[in-house]
Amino acid sequence: MFGFILRRGLGAALILFAVSAVTFFLFFALPSDPARLSCGKTCTPQTLAAIRHNLGVDRPLFDQYWQFLHGIFDGRHFGATWCAAPCLGYSFVNHKSVTSTLADRFPATLSLAVGASVLILTVGVGLGVIAALRRGQALDKRLTAIALVGSSMQVYFVGIVARYLLVDEFSVLPQPGYSPITSDPGKWFGGMILPWSTLAVVSAATYVRFTRSSMIEAEAQEYVRTARAQGLPPRVVHLRYAWRGAMTLVLTQFGLDLGLFLGSAVITETTFNIHGIAQLAVSSVTDLDLPMITGTVLVAAAFIVLCNVAVDLCYAFIDPRVRL
């Protein structure tokens, strides 16, 4: 167990290292000059050179990358500004540290992810189990059809149409958007309902299909058949045995999806104007804010890698057959 965690952790760290290097070097092709941005309107070549030196952008690329890594573990200076570890850089567009900006945006993305996950898993898995238990019946067919259409929908379409109908036309829901749960839980909840539901409509469908097929597969497994042959009641067979087996697969899928969440959140956050990490990434691209782009890409990558490790771990807990 411990060895497994160590091995996976090391592997994850190496992957992150590779991702950071690739990101750093590729994005250096972006036509952005942080020194010019900090120089103001009366910018003389001398001032510009001084700022470049201060920021360290006049040094060789490898040296800069080294500084970047150094900053993550040990903090570093940007001109007169000290950026404490873990320092992912300093945005010259917003004049803020990348780490604190990310921390600032994190609660919004987290709210979106947690709420949507709960909804997606409850609805998706629930309906999937029902469909599997009623396999072949009318309800199953109807659910399967709805799930197919749902999984073919896009957040930007469903979200905007729902917003138009529920918010703008009939005022059933408040305007979507993020406000901190700490300041006003009611407002937080109201603003997130539409984003959560939209994600649920689009993604739960996948879980309905997936749970259904996993359940059906699990029912055919030997250990379930054994259980049934032993004369256990069908409810116990379904829920204790088949469901448990199916859940490993569903959970794996969920972990992988969660890892990709930041990518898909780009659309969700844009559509609902949620100032989260994904929207930060998009606006940094528009602003050619290199340190911020590197920071968000790295955090998103870390998220993916962590979710993958977590999936493996959960796997072990749920399914005793998996050896670590």
Partner: protein, 586 residues
């Protein structure tokens, strides 16, 4: 300075402007409809003048707004936080509007009804000068900061010295250049932080301040009205931190400022209305909320639920998407600011690449001004113009040199091109790479195609748009530009835009226009001591420049914004944004 656009029309202006009386009755909401936005022909009427007020005009208090009362809280919804509040760094119209509440200047503009006057604010009058070079001001009695300490002449001097400090970039540079006589003024004086003193400003006592300019500037009192030149006591200079939390000399002070989220202002109890001829402070509190998208801000203002009943915005305009709905609903229309601002927008023609005047004129004649305006919201975006100066600038004269339809006239343009060496010139049209401009590029290239031009459309990342188009050696032929004069005089429009000797990277002359006759005339006019003679001469020069067609005049922008039904006294001010100083809670 130039104005920027992003999506729709949020302009984070680098520039600001001043300006005078907007024709429209500045008083109250409902009556502010003399110029109906749906009628593009209805232009701001007569030529406006911002007169220089007397010492009597400069006495407080500001004449009351009819029906106004004190109390209540106003919510201001803004797309983003103010990029700067430190007066030394304030230049964009939104930032200037915020500083109206937090700072005072030696001079400022008093708006009463339809009249705008320049009056003494901290000073007892708008200044006196025997020669246009030495200007003397006396401070009023009873001027106080937010902590009750007195505002002194030394503080005014220190505030201006701070604008020389390199670290405090972003503000205008007029005084810095005029006091030192150098465009690159930092070689002469680099700011007060290392203990240096600016000898061009003398403060013989706590109430007297004397400016020694390097050359004559008849419009010096106007320049002093810019928010950048506000008093700052040396002991309260928190340097970089001043930007988030300036020390107030105005009617309000900052209670809290949560960057990018919100800010709350409460009364400065030491501010004495009897000393202030230009400010009202009716509400007890101002609450700013930052971060919502413009469409959401407009939705909230339309719904006006709860605290939003007393909400407004400084800058967010209703876009085309809501214009129809708002204009057809009398309840909404009754609480809409809809006024022309001093901002003008136009299309620069690169006169270094397109040397033949006939080709430039053909571009002007073929250009689809109406089609492009429609993409930006049509009549709610702005009023068509055919002149360089805007109707709210002193010296403005209405004329239409080319008499061409706003939809463009390909036939006329073709005829002009036929007289040139190449009837099918290639034109590189550069635009900011956002959805609205992408569509505008389609309209522009279709219209120019019809006249025989070959059009290359070139998107530039919005972030780099100014850098790229303001380069002297840019490779583009036609590109959008905007301008807001910093005070209501043509001298803050024509020289920066068309003086050939002011062509630099990042400058205002982006058509790269350099005509020796025009340059000489600019010098002659600036040498006139009488401002009204200057005004008349600028009007004539405006027309003369347009004969060479260095730009295609397009629109004078409108500010079209909703506000909550619980507010009164909302209208635009000399800055062009919704003006907070007459606002009251009903």
């Amino acid at each position: 300075m130039a104005i920027s656009t992003s999506k729709h029309r949020s302009r984070s202006a680098l520039a600001l402007l001043m300006l005078g009386t907007l024709t429209i009755s500045a008083g109250c909401s409902a009556s502010s409809k003399k110029t109906d936005a749906s009628n593009p022909a209805a232009k701001a009427a007569a030529k406006q003048t911002v007169a220089i007020g007397t010492a009597v005009d400069s006495k407080g208090p500001d004449p009351a707004v009819p029906g106004a009362k004190s109390g209540g809280a106003v919510t201001v919804l803004q797309h983003s936080d103010f990029s700067h509040l430190d007066p030394a760094r304030v230049w964009s119209s939104t930032n200037q509007t915020a500083d109206l509440l937090l700072s005072r200047q030696l001079t400022s503009y008093q708006q009463v009804g339809d009249t705008t006057k320049l009056v003494g604010d901290l000073a007892t009058d708008t200044g006196s000068s025997p020669d246009g070079k030495t200007w003397t001001y006396h401070l009023k009695d009873g001027l106080k900061y937010e902590d009750g300490s007195s505002i002194t002449a030394q503080d005014v001097k220190y505030g201006i010295e701070r604008t020389f400090q390199k670290e405090l970039s972003g503000g205008p540079q007029y005084l810095q250049m005029w006091l030192t006589g150098k465009d690159d003024y930092s070689g002469v004086y680099s700011g007060p932080w290392n203990g240096q003193d600016l000898s061009a400003i003398q403060t013989p006592d706590a109430k007297t301040i004397v400016f020694h300019l390097a050359s004559m500037h008849a419009d010096f009192p106007f320049a002093l009205a810019m928010q950048s030149y506000s008093p700052v006591p040396k002991s309260k200079d928190t340097k970089a931190a001043f930007d988030q939390h300036p020390f107030s000399s105005g009617p309000y002070k900052i209670d809290s400022h949560d960057i990018d989220k919100g800010m709350v202002l409460s009364r400065n109890p030491y501010w004495d209305p009897d000393t202030d001829p230009v400010r009202h402070a009716y509400p007890d509190q101002w609450r700013f909320e930052f971060g919502a998208q413009e469409v959401d801000i407009n939705q909230r203002l339309m719904a006006a639920n709860g605290p939003d009943r007393t909400a407004m915005t400084f800058k967010v305009s209703i876009g085309a998407d809501l214009a129809g709905q708002v204009n057809s609903d009398p309840n909404l229309k009754a609480r809409l600011v809809n006024q022309v601002t001093p901002f003008s927008e136009f299309f620069n023609i690169n006169t270094r690449r397109i040397i033949d005047v006939k080709v430039r004129q053909a571009l002007l004649e073929a250009f689809p001004r109406q089609q492009v305006r429609q993409l930006f919201g049509g009549p709610v975006y702005g009023d068509f113009t055919t002149t360089i100066l805007s109707p709210v600038t002193n010296g403005y004269q209405d004329y239409d040199l080319y008499g061409v339809a706003m939809t463009g006239d390909p036939v006329k343009a073709k005829a002009l091109l036929a007289q040139t060496s190449n009837p099918h010139p290639t034109i590189v049209f550069a635009y900011s790479d956002d959805p609205t401009w992408q569509q505008a590029a389609v309209a522009v290239s279709q219209a120019l195609d019809k006249a025989g031009f070959t059009v290359v459309t070139k998107p530039i990342s919005s972030k780099n748009y100014y850098d790229e188009t303001q380069k002297v050696d840019n490779q583009f032929d036609l590109y959008w530009g905007g301008w807001g004069p910093d005070w209501p005089s043509a001298s803050s429009v024509i020289p920066p835009l068309f003086d050939g000797r002011q062509i630099t990277d990042g400058g205002g002359n982006n058509s790269l226009f350099d005509d020796s006759g025009v340059n000489a005339e600019i010098d002659r006019i600036q040498g006139l001591a009488d401002l009204s003679q200057q005004d008349a001469a600028w009007g004539v020069l405006d027309k003369k420049i347009m004969q060479s067609a260095p730009v295609i005049p397009w629109v004078d922008l409108r500010q079209v914004s909703l506000y909550g039904p619980g507010l009164g006294g909302v209208h635009t001010g000399f800055i062009g944004t919704c003006y907070p100083l007459d606002v009251y809670v009903k």
